[in-house]
Amino acid sequence: MKKSILIIAILLFLAAGAAYADDASHAFAEALTAAHNDENNFAFMQFRTFLQEYPESKYAQQAMFAIGEYYFMSANYSQAKETFYKFIEKYPDAASRIFAMAYLLNMASRLSDNKASLDIQKKIINFTRLTLLFRKSKEYKYASAFNKKLVAVYSIDSIKFYAQDKLFAEISY
């Protein structure tokens, strides 16, 4: 009798977990669809709600990056900076981390914040250790939730960031 109760409890827990995951995926997909449809304000609110309700979801880092990107697009640089700094701290292994730093570099340059600019430049340069034997450069790519195609090109003595194929930030050393 006890054994069957235990099995039923485990099944219920797994079912609830699956339902939770489904809900999170659904909520993120809705936000993503809004972003793809250029309903940026609506998408931003959905990403924010999603992050509040599912902070541990596998989509949470994409949502947080999207929130930071929205603030940047709205020229709300203080909120954008706060969000991106939180992002790179919370997700040190995220593939999009380098682009969060690119946004921070762009803002430091816009706000003439040299100290922040030097600090973030160092982080970007140290992001990877380049070994270019046959290639001349190495590229990192990321498609953001707001449908932005972000590219980082690492050469031996420069790093260039492109957003939608337009040069967006650059470091020479």
Binding site: I125, N126, R129, L130, T131, L133, F134, K136, D157, Y173
Partner: protein, 675 residues
């Protein structure tokens, strides 16, 4: 009737009276002079009761109406010894008050004139130190009446640095109630010495030191209301008090460090202003005490305990050209003059010739000075204010010296048994140990010292020259040459040298003018590299054991270090199976800029199973292996680019693109794994 002749009788009486008075005065004059003459022995005896001395008086006589003249006074340390004269006075005048004699029946000398006092400084100061208690007792029996002492042509001889100096002073000292004042001037000149007992004309003619002193005296307490010292290149003013053996002084001084000595006839052109108690702390721009002064000692605050010959300085704070300075310790004013002092000088307002990157200098010195020889040991800690604060740039420089012996003559000759220069670099302490340091300092030019030096550095020899600007804080331009030192010993300066073996020779230029900068070149012949980081990495990554130890015939490089960057230029390593050329720069942000050309012999490459396959693919006509690469990024995570070369083109054309990508991924994975 006989007429009375009044006109004849009266003159006769006057004449008689005058004659009688003359006889009386003459008798009194003779009697007084006989009495004075008989006092010669008594005076000597009286003095001898307090201090061991024999006083020879040539002549003593009364000069009416109120003077006593004493001639040819010789004050000898003790009887029966030749050449033991402490001082001599050719002429001495004592003046007394006739009024006090007749009104108060009191014989009081109230004016003393001394002419031509002569003494040897060392003998006089030694005698005074030895008999100080007796001198104090002798002074205490002198009636404490108002007195004025005037001294002219007071000549004190000082033998120093194989030269004879003459201190020629004239001054007036006056005691009036509780107030003591002294005013006078002194010339300090190099003397030719005495010829037939007469002073020859001095070799030099200096400008005088003028001084004035005003002291308020109460039992157990002296209050210095004014102490002034003036010269063309110096103005000093002090005030304070002395009680319970403790001297407290405040004051300020101005100096010109470029003195212009000229003839004695030239007038003193220093427009000195009169001080009042209210304007003691005038700002420098208003002061004008010494126009053209370039050294300001302001806010002097001294507290010192006197137990002569020792003076213990509890506090001596002042600002030197607006920079804080402090001294603490003890000084012994006896032969040999010795000090045990801690000092501090902070640089907040660098002068135009200041080494801007020195933050402060502090240290300790224990030593002595006598017969023109300084003996000392101590430590000098130089705090640096370099822009870069990343742990790789030293923030302080420490010089420890022991067994310093400096002979000060026309040249200054310095010997230091042990001199250690150290500075923290990151977590390590870099040490430059020098033994038997010897230097000669030529001080021919004003404000400049040319230093020629040599020292034993590990098993090699360091020698060179330095030009030191003697104006604080001593900007230096130096050249050094290092010969025959085992390169691995230099690990105490740069840890990478631990893996470099062979005899190293180097040339080095150093300056701290405007900013600290070092550059030079080094060369090692017939040495070897063992487990040198870069080659060890190559050996491990590409399985080439021959790179673990590389015997080379010649390795050389230029180097430079300054506040903004450092690096190696014209690197050149010649080994039988390997050649390396290139440069490596590291900038202020620790970013690397480097290009290196590495050529390896095919025979060496055949040691590697990986390269054997590659060489087989390339075939017999493969070009020489020239690995031409560029490094960039931060030192701790350098990026790597294989630059274009014939060899690279041959490799690229021999292997398909997807294989290139696989190789690249593998190498990248390997490099990423390196911490």
């Amino acid at each position: 009737m006989r007429k009375t002749n009044y006109s004849r009788k009266f003159p006769t009486n006057i004449k008689l009276s005058l004659f009688a008075l003359l006889i009386f005065l003459l008798g009194a004059f003779i009697a007084i002079n006989l009495l004075l003459s008989s006092l010669k022995q008594d005076i000597s005896g009286l003095i001898a009761r307090f201090i061991p001395a024999t006083v020879k008086i040539g002549n003593i006589f009364y000069l009416p109406p109120d003077s006593i003249i004493v001639k040819e006074v010789d004050f000898n340390a003790s009887a029966g010894q030749k050449d033991n004269t402490v001082f001599s006075i050719p002429a001495l005048t004592l003046k007394f008050s006739l009024r006090k004699i007749f009104a108060q029946h009191n014989f009081i000398v109230d004016r003393i004139g001394i002419y031509g006092f002569q003494a040897d400084y060392h003998r006089l100061s030694y005698y005074c130190r030895q008999n100080w208690e007796g001198i104090k007792k002798l002074i205490s029996i002198i009636p404490q009446e108002d007195i004025k002492l005037t001294a002219k042509k007071t000549n004190i001889f000082l033998a120093q640095n194989k030269k004879l100096w003459l201190i020629d002073s004239s001054f007036t000292f006056e005691k009036k109630g509780d107030l003591l004042t002294c005013e006078g001037s002194s010339f300090i000149d190099e003397a030719r010495g005495l010829t037939n007992g007469q002073l020859s004309s001095p070799r030099t003619h200096s400008l005088p030191f003028n001084y004035s002193l005003q002291i308020s005296y109460k039992p157990g307490h002296l209050s210095f209301t004014n102490l002034e010292l003036k010269r063309e290149n110096l103005y000093l003013k002090l005030w304070g008090d002395f009680a319970a053996n403790t001297l407290k002084l405040n004051g300020f001084a101005f100096m010109k460090t470029l003195p212009k000595e000229s003839g004695r006839k030239k007038n003193l052109s220093v427009p000195l202003r009169v001080f009042s108690a209210e304007n003691k702390e005038l700002p420098i721009k208003e002061a004008g005490y010494l126009p053209g002064a370039d050294l300001y000692l302001l806010d002097i605050n001294l507290a010192a305990r006197l137990a002569l010959p020792q003076v213990t300085i509890d506090r001596f704070n002042f600002s030197l050209n607006k920079n804080p300075a402090a001294l603490k310790g003890s000084i012994v004013f006896s032969a040999p003059f010795s000090v045990d002092l801690e000092y501090y000088y902070g640089i907040k307002s660098p002068a135009r010739y200041t080494a801007h990157n020195i933050k402060d200098i502090k240290g300790h010195i224990k030593g002595s000075f006598g017969n023109a020889i300084i003996e000392a040991s101590g430590i000098i800690n130089i705090g640096l204010d370099l822009k870069k604060k990343d742990g790789l740039t030293p923030q302080e420089l420490v010089l420890k010296y022991s067994g310093l012996n400096a002979l000060i003559d026309r040249q200054v000759r310095v010997k230091i048994e042990g001199l250690e220069i150290n500075y923290p670099m990151g977590r390590d302490l870099c040490v430059i140990p020098l033994k038997n340091f010897q230097a000669v300092c030529e001080t021919g030019k004003i404000n400049n010292c040319l230093l020629l030096y040599q020292a034993q550095y590990w098993d090699g020899l360091l020698k060179g020259m330095a030009s030191i600007d003697m104006r604080f804080p001593f900007p230096i331009s130096a050249k050094a040459e290092l010969k025959g030192v085992s390169a691995d010993n230099l690990k105490s300066v740069l840890i990478h040298f631990a893996k470099v073996h062979g005899k190293l020779s180097a040339e080095l230029n150093f300056t701290n003018k405007n900013r600290i900068s070092t550059d030079g070149s080094m060369h090692i012949k017939n040495g070897f590299l063992e487990n040198f980081d870069f080659f060890k990495w190559l050996a491990d990554t590409f399985s080439i054991p021959g790179l673990r130890k590389i015997n080379f015939s010649s390795a050389s490089s230029d180097f430079y270090i300054n506040e903004l960057n450092c690096g190696l230029r014209n690197m050149d390593l010649e080994a039988p199976k390997l050649k390396l050329q290139g440069y490596f720069d590291l900038d202020n942000n620790d970013l690397v800029h480097s290009k290196i050309l590495l050529s390896m012999d095919k025979q060496l490459l055949r040691e590697s199973p990986k390269f054997i396959r590659l060489l087989n693919v390339l075939g017999k006509h493969a070009p020489d292996f020239q690995f031409n690469f560029q490094l960039s990024g931060y030192l701790e995570r350098m990026n790597f680019l294989w630059l274009k070369s014939d060899f690279k083109e041959a490799v690229q054309s021999a292997i398909p693109g997807f294989v290139q990508r696989n190789i690249e991924k593998e190498v990248e994975k390997t490099i990423q794994s390196i911490p």
